[in-house]
């Protein structure tokens, strides 16, 4: 584990930005997001968690799949430089791994590149993610529900802890190993540093609320399918997509053509299962026409369906949806209500 003194942070960042497209938390409150930075002054180092997750860089809200002119088709998948992400919280680092299972890989056709998303892969495969331990989880955080923790080392290529005077960094993956090997002139973390990590970790964990077990919820969910509780929990939902668009693991998208027949572009743009039109078919038939069905779909997908395919939940407990929902439809409350429901098996 190496030690980057805060007094050297500026130089460290400067050097990084020469070799990588460097992304880090920028901006305050609702404007905060991961954006490309050139120097340390641009980085918001005190933010608990950005409003917009790193998803917005790897799977942008809108991106051009290709441009066409006549029959000629041009596409650009690869970023100019590999990306380095500084300061990703463990929940978000895990989200990227979950998204990679869907976008970068294919459970159903694991060996066929035609079923891997080329744009995602071009960005994600070469990117280095530095997971920054969460010294002060927010009251809306619930990473402990789905197997996470503020100091989790489960995801990312590098792991770092911010102490009073320094960032302590260690590798988590091969990419991370190679990165650390390439660094020179940094001290190794001392015993005292390691003690302060332990102390910070204990304090961070004490801020979290008791966890609800996501696996119990997963087992329970099929029984709730017809439960009138879904009417109750979906009643206040206004079917916007604030929760989904702000979610670090929601990945649904639409593909559309813009321009004219002889010249234009095919784009993809985020879409959302909360919108009635998402599943509406050309015939007018809509398999999920009711708010109850759509809210149920979102909860089921996060806490059941994804688990059935990949063995874990598609929620990392970042709490963003809890904060942005305009009607305070709190996913944690929904989960608790479902667990308590006396649904017939």
């Amino acid at each position: 584990m190496i030690k980057i003194e805060k007094s050297n942070f500026g130089t460290f960042i400067q050097n990084l930005s020469a070799d990588y497209s460097l992304f880090a938390p920028v901006g305050e409150g609702q404007q905060s997001a991961f954006r490309e930075v050139k120097n340390a002054e641009q980085i918001n180092t005190h933010i608990q968690i950005t409003q917009n997750s790193p998803k917005t860089v790897f799977l942008p809200q809108t991106e051009v799949l290709f441009e066409f002119s006549g029959d000629d088709i041009q596409s650009e998948e690869k970023p100019a430089k590999p990306m380095f992400f500084w300061g990703v919280r463990s929940c978000d680092a895990k989200s990227l791994n979950l998204l990679d299972k869907v976008m970068g890989q294919s459970k159903q056709r694991p060996d066929d590149p035609a079923f891997q998303d080329p744009y995602w892969k071009a960005r994600f495969d070469d990117a280095i993610i530095l997971t920054l331990a969460c010294n002060e989880p927010a009251s809306t955080c619930f990473c402990n529900w789905t197997g996470g923790s503020p100091f989790s080392k489960d995801a990312g290529d590098l792991w770092a802890v911010e102490t009073e005077t320094a960032y302590l960094v260690e590798p988590l993956s091969e990419k991370g190993e190679a990165f650390v090997k390439g660094l020179s002139g940094y001290d190794t973390a001392s015993e005292k540093d390691k003690q302060s990590i332990a102390k910070l970790k204990k304090q961070a964990e004490s801020y979290l609320q008791p966890a609800v077990d996501a696996e119990t919820l997963k087992e329970k969910l099929p029984q709730t399918w017809e439960d009138p509780l879904w009417d109750e929990v979906s009643a206040k939902c206004v079917n916007c997509s604030a929760c989904a668009f702000i979610c670090p693991t929601c990945y649904c998208f639409d593909i559309q053509d813009e321009g004219k027949k002889d010249k234009g572009k095919r784009i993809r743009t985020w879409d959302c299962c909360m919108f009635p039109i998402f599943t509406k078919e050309a015939s007018g038939h809509n398999p999920r026409s009711l708010a109850r069905e759509r809210v149920r779909q979102r909860v089921m997908h996060k806490f059941r369906y994804f688990w059935e395919i990949y063995g874990e939940s598609l929620c990392t407990g970042c709490g963003r949806c809890v904060r942005v929902c305009p009607v305070n439809l709190d996913i944690r409350e929904v989960a608790k209500q479902l667990l308590e429901a006396d649904s017939a098996a």
């Binding site: 609702q30 009643a235 206004v238 079917n239």
Partner: protein
């Protein structure tokens, strides 16, 4: 006040005057109330009424939410001034059956805008909040701050002359005396002073932040089309991506569709996850309509909307330029 509200709702259930009551309950976060739907007398205890009750509940009587309301069901709805104005709008536009509604008015001294509080404390996390007549106290890890309420009231409440529902069946406590603000729209002055180029720039800047989540539209009581033009796909009127031209068409289209119908409740602005100043343009339009037609939306159940009626003595200078 809250006690009186709960007693009243309980009585309405006991006297079988309502089957369902839409009101506000305690939310899961500090400074946050949440819409609740209660269908029995004992649940009246869950109702609250305070400066956190910022959602406009009228929205639950239209749109997709019509499914909540069964035919012939008697609905009680707790309303502050602006929610009540939305109900007047609905009555004028034939969206509700007035006789099936029991309107429960509550006096409103303004609701707070959480985003303003967070800006005030520079993004720190609020773990608890308490309210007094003219100030609030917020606490978090390592801080405790007092804030004057007027600094964090929703923009929509700052110059409001309509603290009570214009039409109601029961009123909890005394209707609040209006402040009789003379200049209702001081907040749009700065925008008005800009030339058209600068106005355009301001709008483009503001709306470029939009993520097209439609939270503003979906919480807006005046936006109740069963299928919004932005959602239609055959033909598709506008692009789905947050490309600025498409985003502007959405927002400006919405501004025009709610012109003369907006009750300026500010729900759009408070709902926006991208922190866009959404209310300003609506208020500018409302101001124009007030000046030209002496009309304010949602006040008189017998008055036709300004843009849906014609009087010979109306100002017509815009026709001749």
């Amino acid at each position: 006040m809250v006690k009186a509200l709960r007693e009243e709702v309980k009585r309405l259930f006991e006297e079988k005057k309502v089957d369902l009551v839409i009101g506000w309950g305690k939310g899961s976060l500090p400074m946050t109330a949440t819409p609740i739907f209660i269908n029995k007398a004992e649940d009246a205890e869950r109702l609250i009424w305070d400066e956190t009750c910022s959602n406009n509940l009228a929205v639950y009587l239209t749109k997709d939410k019509r499914q909540l309301v069964k035919t012939d069901q008697k609905i009680g709805i707790v309303v502050k001034g602006c929610d009540g104005r939305s109900l007047v709008l609905y009555a004028v536009e034939n969206q509700i059956q007035r006789e099936n509604l029991v309107i429960i008015g509550v006096p409103c001294a303004g609701v707070i805008d959480k985003k303003k509080v967070l800006k005030h404390i520079e993004g720190k996390e609020v773990l608890s909040a308490s309210f007094e007549a003219d100030r609030m106290t917020v606490e978090g890890r390592g801080f405790k701050t007092e804030i004057a309420k007027c600094d964090v009231l929703s923009d929509s409440c700052l110059n409001c002359n309509h603290p009570n529902a214009p039409v109601f069946d029961v009123f909890i406590g005394e209707p609040r005396k209006s402040d009789s603000v003379e200049d209702v729209y001081p907040d749009v002055e700065a925008f008005e002073k800009l030339d058209s180029e600068a106005r355009w720039k301001t709008m483009v800047e503001a709306y470029s932040k939009c993520i097209r989540c439609y939270a503003c539209r979906n919480v807006c009581p005046s936006c109740y089309c069963t299928e919004c033009f932005v959602d239609q796909n055959d033909p598709q009127w506008i692009g789905k991506s947050p490309e600025i031209t498409d985003t502007l068409i959405f927002h400006l289209g919405r501004n025009l569709h709610v012109a003369g119908r907006c009750v300026e409740c500010g729900a759009c602005e408070r709902a926006c996850p991208a922190d866009i100043d959404l209310l300003k343009l609506n208020r500018k339009i409302s101001k124009e309509i007030l000046e030209r037609f002496n009309f304010t939306a949602g006040l008189d159940i017998n008055e036709k909307p300004a843009l849906a009626s014609f009087c010979e003595n109306e100002k017509q200078d815009f026709i001749m330029g």
